[in-house]
Symmetry: C2
Subunit: 148 residues, 2 copies
DNA sequence: ACTTGACTTAAAGTTGAGTTTAACTTATAT
DNA sequence: ATATAAGTTAAACTCAACTTTAAGTCAAGT
């Protein structure tokens, strides 16, 4: 079962040009070619592309993903390194989620801010509200925004 | 209480060149200048920078952040629009968190995969393991990776 | 034989978000 | 008065990750 670059691109949801670019950059050393130079993607290559997409979503750069792929091509002697790298990325993603949750808190404060402003007809009401009148859950975040 | 571009850059943790760039792009219309053209940041401007950083963290582009700032400069008539935009960004961030949690699941599968490979000395053991032997929590994710 | 459509390549172009550079001005300390 | 440190500008440069273009190859269908 082989796929051309266009077929695989469709299957994985990327542009064919992107797959060619990845190949050119050395991220797809496992993709074989026909005698006339046409890329022949296998089902196992789809799995590789999924892994590459997963690592991209963690924020890993293509050059680092390339090194991971190269490790895998070297075989079982690099299992330890690969395990370490995956664990590191897991940590990195957990950190990103924490950061986004912080961002959510700020957006929730701003939602309260504009809802209060909307009810009052002016942003002056929430802006000048004394800390003691502010809903308790927003006090810390307002302090942080104001650099206090 | 005024800050130069360098002082404010330090306070907010960005490069002075970044603040100048934001100013040039029209993100900081509220920053005043001295008679000799020196930027004079106020404490209220620090709060603005924090909001800009928050919106950046949601993945919003600078040109869209600029439109938000411009709305705010227009005053109370845009409260509704701003509230809507903040709510939209809140949703967007929730979606990003969901995506990262999906990514975490894949990384957890890969961790199991390499830990099993490490114990066996070869990736062939986890790779060729029948679905029925696979820990239940990894079955769906392996199917997804293999495009099944 | 010819058209169509998908493939190939190398190289140039794009986008977003800055950073760097060059030439210059201003403010402060000695 | 001068050195130093920090500021100014516009414009060029960088970087990652693609995308587009130009020129060409190849296989299948009419």
């Amino acid at each position: 079962m082989f796929y051309t670059v266009g077929e695989m691109a469709k299957k994985i949801g990327l542009a064919p040009s992107t797959l060619r670019y990845y190949d050119k950059e050395g991220l797809l050393p496992f993709v074989e070619r026909s005698s006339s130079g046409i890329r022949m993607f296998k089902d196992a290559d789809f799995e590789w592309l999924q892994v590459i997409e997963c690592l991209k979503k963690t924020g890993m750069q293509l050059c680092d993903i390339k090194r991971f792929v190269e490790m895998a091509m070297q075989g079982d002697e690099t299992i330890d390194e690969r395990l370490f790298l995956i664990k590191k990325q897991h940590q990195a993603v957990e950190k990103q989620i924490d950061a986004l949750n912080e961002t959510l808190k700020t957006l929730e404060f701003k939602t309260w801010y504009y809802e209060t402003a909307k009810a009052a007809g002016t942003t002056e009401i929430p802006r000048n509200m004394p800390l003691s009148d502010l809903p308790e859950e927003y006090r810390e975040i307002r302090k942080k925004l104001r650099g206090e």
